[in-house]
């Protein structure tokens, strides 16, 4: 059976990213493993020593276990948004890869779909790698690894799409700080409200619908 043209084109773009990525795999895995370990050390061990344990929704958890879902969610946010925003900007504006591909039978919209799916794939893999560290440190239950896949992928698609929109905005206006400050930073900083919405001002209670990291965080939890 012949694969439809558009799917084939998107697959070709995805494969192009994958082939380029394979070359930098050791470096990528190194940074993906290291970053959550730094987070665990600073927030989990450091702040955790001050806070001790936390009881939420009737369950008592160590602080380290409590924040681990946040570490997974922020990995999805960082990887998805950064790859979609800065990675795509470099590929589009400096490397001219979009231009090189979009003069072939692969259309520009297919290039963008391929880019979006690749960014999401990469963010999902990163989140799973981080979750594996959690399994190793007993801060994340192994049985949740599979459930995490669709949650992370759907969240990644959203964050990557926002990143791509930011890259498009930056290419037109040469301004990255605006989407960064207005959306990405809010997602990261206000994610802490995710389990404590009842104590927040009314405006903040409505914000999770917009800043999608917040609903993602408890979903990534055990």
């Amino acid at each position: 059976m012949k694969i439809p043209d558009s799917l084939w084109s998107i697959w070709c773009v995805w494969l192009r990213y994958f082939a380029a990525f394979i070359k930098s795999l050791p470096y990528y895995l190194g940074t993906t493993f290291l970053e959550p370990i730094f987070y665990l050390l600073s927030f989990g061990v450091g702040v955790g020593a001050l806070v001790g344990g936390i009881t939420t929704q009737g369950v008592h958890l160590s602080y380290r276990s409590f924040i681990f879902s946040g570490i997974i969610a922020q990995t999805v946010l960082f990887q998805g948004f950064y790859e979609g925003a800065f990675g795509a900007f470099v590929r589009m504006y400096y490397q001219k890869i979009f231009q090189a591909i979009a003069i072939t039978p692969v259309t520009l919209s297919e290039v963008l779909w391929g880019e979006l799916l690749w960014d999401s794939t990469k963010a999902t893999v990163a989140a799973e790698v981080v979750a594996l560290i959690g399994v190793a440190t007993k801060d994340f239950p192994a049985q949740c690894l599979l459930w995490l896949l669709p949650v992370c992928f759907l969240s990644s698609v959203l964050f990557s799409a926002m990143g791509l929109a930011a890259a498009g905005f930056a290419a037109a206006s040469m301004n990255f700080p605006i989407p960064n400050t207005c959306w990405y930073s809010q997602c990261f900083f206000f994610a802490a409200f995710s389990t404590q919405l009842r104590v927040c001002p009314p405006l903040c209670k409505k914000s999770p619908g917009f800043f999608r990291l917040l609903p993602s965080t408890p979903l990534c939890g055990p």
Binding site: C12, L15, Q95, K96, I97, Q99, A100, T104, P105, T107
Partner: protein
């Protein structure tokens, strides 16, 4: 598709755009029309900012046209981009080589976008690298190539799909004379196979040598189209022109396409007798 359809038809192509948000609107193209026959080489000449590169971006379907139509082998490039681009090879003025891949891999990867089977893509990549004198660089990263080599590779890449229409935007800019000749020979070979070529160039000698017909483009409009010989005969009345090449040194020579170009685009630059 009947054989009477010209490989490339451009009908009243216009493009208006803003370079950035809030910027002034520019009329880059104002309804240009031309068509290219099978095996013909058609030149697009014009000063910087005349609209040549915009025309190429619209013809390749990368920019949407504000109005007008472009047909490649009978397919509207904006309505049926896949079918049109399947037979189109484009070499942009800007370097668009994929720096994440080595020279050989780059060609094979590019072929995959045309759904060319891998074994065939590898064979063609080999042949093209050989043809363009890049075989010894096959395993090198793109960054290690000189400017001329990158240009050759980009032209080679545009030929990987054996296009029936080849669009080249200043392919020989900055190349050594011997490499330029190599490219000319490669283009002549492509023409022999029936490939129609649209060539944008600043080099008048190149246009006179390669092009069957030439269009002079200025401020988004085509000022005249004909063979180089007819253009010279039509626009340069005198059999001889005088040109001051250095202070006090005047050359007398036969008029050429450059004189036509300078006359039509309104730039005389010291050439007398036009």
């Amino acid at each position: 598709m009947t054989t009477s359809v010209p490989p490339l038809q451009v009908i009243q192509l216009a493009k208006r755009y803003r370079a950035h948000w809030g910027g002034e609107e520019t009329q880059a193209l104002s309804g240009i029309s031309f068509e290219i026959a099978t095996g013909e080489c058609f030149g697009l000449l014009g000063p910087n900012g005349a609209g040549k590169s915009t025309a190429i971006q619209c013809i390749s379907g990368f920019y949407p046209a504000t109005s007008g139509e472009v047909f490649v082998e009978g397919y509207n490039v904006h309505l049926h981009p896949k079918q049109a681009r399947q037979v189109l090879g484009v070499c942009n003025q800007e370097e668009t080589l994929d720096s994440d891949f080595k020279v050989y891999d780059q060609l094979v990867r590019h072929a995959s976008y045309f759904r060319i089977p891998t074994f065939l893509a590898k064979q063609r990549a080999h042949d093209l690298l050989e043809r363009f004198g890049l075989s010894d660089k096959a395993k090198e990263p793109v960054e290690s190539l000189s400017g001329g080599m990158k240009r050759r590779l980009q032209v080679a890449r545009s030929l990987i799909s054996n296009p029936r229409v080849l669009v080249l935007d200043e392919p020989t800019t900055g190349l050594d004379p011997d490499v330029r000749r190599m490219l000319w020979e490669a283009l002549a070979e492509a023409r022999k196979k029936g490939t129609a070529i649209l060539l944008c160039t600043h080099y008048m000698e190149e246009a006179e040598r390669l092009c069957d017909r030439v269009a002079i483009l200025s401020e988004g409009k085509i000022l005249d189209v004909d063979s180089p010989e007819n253009l010279v005969a039509r626009h340069i009345a005198r059999g001889e022109v005088e040109e001051e090449v250095r202070p006090g040194v005047v050359w007398k020579r036969r008029p050429n396409l450059e004189d036509v170009y300078l006359k039509l685009t309104g730039s005389r630059l010291g050439v007398e007798g036009l």
